[in-house]
């Protein structure tokens, strides 16, 4: 094989600490290498053209590019060699940026290491074979997990684009956090007025199937052909016939159930509809509080329900859905602030969270939009807001900024003044992060027009004094201690990954950061993709995000799905395992170890043999190291190819 080697400067990224010309010169001495050069930016148009020209001029049979990580540009260069008429697998990449120039300072050692890496790549390339993808049909349905504003946007865009959408929402209603908000910054428009109609659209769209109060049990398959097992949790109410009339809720005698939708402000009945605008507007029983289910006594709702929907024996149900792509939009949850002893750790009823305050401000909330102290129902005069509770605080393992708390605190201060003109709001802040369009103007309004007192500093202690709370903190601009008598304290609790985010990631086979937020394919260039083909991200599940950004990502993820489905067939990855049936002794060890169930047993002339199902194999290679006969070989990474690389490295 005639091989050409291209050593990239990557501007100064590589050249600064690697002598690329020397690497090219050394490569020329390797067996089979007939051409080697160094170039400024191999990935640029002139860089790629140089490769094409060299292939033609020197009649090259394969190409090595020594540059960045294959995750960056392997696809780019594979296409380049293809343009020149070579099979895309007659190409190898040596990573001399991430693995060499960025991590070592010594130019001489770096150069030597780069030469070694190029030598490995050429040795492997000599043993590469052309591989060809197969085409397979795809199922043009999409699954959206999570029905917050991001998921809703993705679902509606996909559905409007003509795709069939399956939405799975864990809670009994869609809407996510936004459905709980009163107004939204920076326009102070009513949250339910803008979200409500979109929720109704989801319910009514002919292309959308909604599974509320459901969770993902299992995900199998691969891009284009996923099989999803959905668990519909028992609601004890037949949703096909429930009309949402609410009669059951009026008469249920068990009135102490946790009101999750209202964030625990007030209680609800054991059988309940989360809120009047819920989608779907269906009742469900909270079994922990239902006296019929717990003690066998009551049964009032079954007697009263005009549609006869109640079924105390209902069990979880499982359904299977087939889709070709998945949008994950599972959002975030709030940091559990009770770890903060200095804020009372939950002992003082008049210290509440920002989301509880939203419910209190909301006209459809448990207090009918009246701001009342939970302790005695009185209207507060002084309201103190504390920002960054569980954000930017290493001591509680949350060093990151939650992004939207500065803004919603300003909003809540403005709304407080609107509701209670005689009130005075104080905000303890660390910095004000108002970087969006019209955002800084908004926080200024809170200070200047609504007379909110902003105090730069942290609160060291909250304690009761009489029936008020004394909030003590530092004013770091004044260099003084401040004490504020508060009637109500609102904590701007930070965002953290949604409960169960990790488990879902395992099922989706996508990665997440150390805080549980899902990792995008590339922090700049692939904001809604993941490293698993066919799985996309939208909204706060990828990191704290406000509504405009969440919606933007919802649409972006939908565009990606529509783009994926613009073809009728996808090409399979030929880098899969293949069984050499002459060597296979049918021991079945690979069948047991394959984590994807991609190997099955077949019969060949009366003998048991292993057989890989190409479309299911993910190319992980576990079977190849399991097989005692070396009969399973992963294409493009055969034992011979890997050993030749090792030999190239261990020459002495």
């Amino acid at each position: 094989m005639k091989i050409g080697v291209f050593v990239c400067h990557c501007g100064s990224n590589i050249e600064a600490t690697v002598d690329t010309a020397a690497v090219a010169a050394a490569s020329r001495e390797f067996p089979d290498v007939v051409f080697a050069t160094d170039t400024m930016y191999t990935c640029s148009e002139p860089g790629q053209d140089e490769i094409v020209a060299a292939i033609k001029e020197h009649n090259l049979g394969g190409v090595v590019v020594a540059s960045c990580t294959p995750r960056m540009h392997e696809q780019t260069f594979r296409r380049t060699v293809e343009r020149a008429g070579l099979n895309r697998y007659l190409f190898e990449m040596a990573n001399i940026r991430e693995h060499v120039s960025w991590i070592g300072k010594d130019r001489e050692s770096n150069t030597n290491k780069s030469v070694d890496l190029v030598r490995m790549a050429t040795e492997k390339l000599m043993r590469n074979r052309p591989l060809y993808s197969k085409k397979f049909d795809i199922n043009k349905r999409v699954l959206v997990i999570g029905g917050g504003v991001a998921g809703i946007q993705a679902a509606l865009d996909c559905a409007d684009g003509g795709l069939e959408v399956v939405m799975v929402e864990k809670a009994p209603t869609i809407g996510g956090k936004m459905a709980k908000l009163d107004k939204t910054f920076p326009t102070v428009d009513c949250s339910s007025c803008i979200l409500g109609p979109r929720m109704v659209d989801v319910a009514q769209h002919p292309n959308i199937t909604l599974y509320a109060y459901s969770e993902i049990e299992e995900i199998n398959g691969y891009v284009g052909n996923f099989e999803i097992k959905v668990k519909k949790k028992a609601t004890y109410v037949d949703w096909d016939s429930c009309t949402g009339c609410g009669i059951c809720m009026e008469k249920c005698p068990s009135k102490k159930a946790t009101d999750t939708f209202n964030e625990g402000i007030g209680k609800t009945t054991a059988i309940n509809i989360p809120f009047p605008q819920a989608i779907p507007k269906k009742a469900k029983i909270d079994p922990d509080f239902c006296t019929k289910i717990q003690k066998g006594k009551c049964g009032v709702c079954a007697k009263l329900c005009p549609s006869g929907c109640i079924n105390y024996e209902m069990q979880d149900e499982f359904v299977t859905e087939k889709v070709g792509a998945i949008v994950t939009a599972t959002g975030f949850d709030l940091f559990d602030w009770s770890i903060y002893g200095e804020y009372g750790a939950g002992r003082y009823p008049d210290v509440i969270t920002s989301l509880q305050y939203e419910r209190m401000l909301s006209a459809s909330g448990p207090t009918g939009g009246h701001i009342k102290r939970p302790s005695d129902g009185k209207e507060p005069k002084n309201v103190v807001f504390i920002q960054c509770v569980g954000s930017r605080d290493k001591s509680v393992g949350r060093p990151y900024c939650s992004g939207f708390c500065c803004m919603y605190t300003a909003k809540q201060a403005i709304l407080t003044k609107d509701h209670l003109p005689d009130s005075q709001s104080y905000v303890f802040y660390m910095d004000i992060r108002a970087i969006g369009k019209l955002y800084d103007e908004f926080t200024r309004r809170a200070m200047e027009e609504y007379d909110t007192k902003y105090i730069r500093g942290r609160v060291s202690m909250i304690y009761p004094q009489g029936d008020r709370l004394l909030v003590r903190g530092a004013d770091t601009l004044m260099g003084a201690q401040v004490e504020v008598d508060a009637d109500l304290v609102v904590l701007a609790v930070g965002a953290e990954a949604a409960a169960g985010a990790g488990e879902l990631a395992e099922k989706l086979r996508i990665s997440y950061d150390s805080y549980g937020f899902y990792m995008e394919g590339h922090p700049k260039l692939k904001p809604v993709e993941t490293n698993t083909a066919g799985v996309y991200l939208a909204g706060a599940c990828q990191g704290p995000k406000d509504i405009p950004s969440s919606v933007g990502q919802g649409s972006a993820a939908a565009a990606k799905v529509l783009g994926l489905f613009s073809k009728d067939q996808l090409e399979s990855d030929p880098q899969v395992s293949v069984v050499d049936i002459k060597r296979c002794i049918g021991c079945g060890k690979c069948i047991q170890t394959c984590p994807f169930g991609a190997i099955k047993e077949m019969e060949f002339r009366g003998m048991a043999k292993a057989d890989v199902i190409e479309t299911i194999c993910q190319g992980c290679g576990i079977c190849t190291s399991t097989c005692p006969q070396g009969a399973v070989q992963l294409q493009h990474f055969t034992d011979n190819q890997i050993l030749s690389e090792v030999n190239a490295l261990c020459r002495f």
Binding site: G341, A345, M461
Partner: protein, 299 residues
Amino acid sequence: MNKPLNYAYYPGCSSTGTSLEYDMSSRAVCAALDINLTDVPDWSCCGSTPAHTVDHSLSSALSARNLDQVASMGLDSCVSPCPSCLANLKTAKHRMEDAGFRDKVNNLLDKPADTRVETKSVLQILVEDYGIENIRKKVVKPLTGLVVGAYYGCILNRPAELMQFDDLEHPMAMDNIMEALGATVVPFPLKVECCGASFGIPRKDVVMRLSGKLLDTAHGIGAMALVTACPLCQMNLDMRQNQINKANGSKHTMPIFYFTQLMGLALGLPEKELGIGKLCVSPRNVLDAIDANLKEKAA
């Protein structure tokens, strides 16, 4: 109790003077509960605040010597009633883990100190080793009707990494003991605030302000008395209560007990053994009220 509890006892200097009643009541209570305290032989000052403000190795040398004395007794843990001594003893042990520092300190001593023994407060062993439920069983004269707030002060459990005891912001050890003794415990919101500590000498106004606030707050929540576990806190609140009243124009007459004194009373020990008479603000009214309540209940 299945296992006998044996500790080396390090009284600390204030036990021989300003907090004699803390020392007396700690010993009396432990004796009544069959907890054996053996005095550290030839103990000396832990260094207190002055030593470490001048030189850390000097401070640690003083404490290390005492730890070494404990080790020579063949006991592996030592208790002290005073949180300030405790902090010094624990700090010395911690600092001595660093080889360089250890050499420096050992140079100051006659022989290298063995500082491996653990130190705990009297409060900590009563709660963790003896147990609240066992204390409850020993109560013969419940403190019925006593409305009390528990004041821990700022160093009893801080820094958390070093002290390793109870909640940093919201300790409950004394609250739980008082509740077990039959008292009505009102949650004292300033339980870990500073009383002004030794600022009483150079800047009395600081103590007047800080301790004044503690008394005002205790009064505000309806406490008849406060319990403490720290000689300095107790002194500021009790001995200086008159000065505070003068400085702030307040009229407090709030008894400030050591928690061991109230424990002793509930265990039926005579007031004399507990040094009740040594308190500056007379607890007579409060104690009489408890007795009256008890009689009423009995009748």
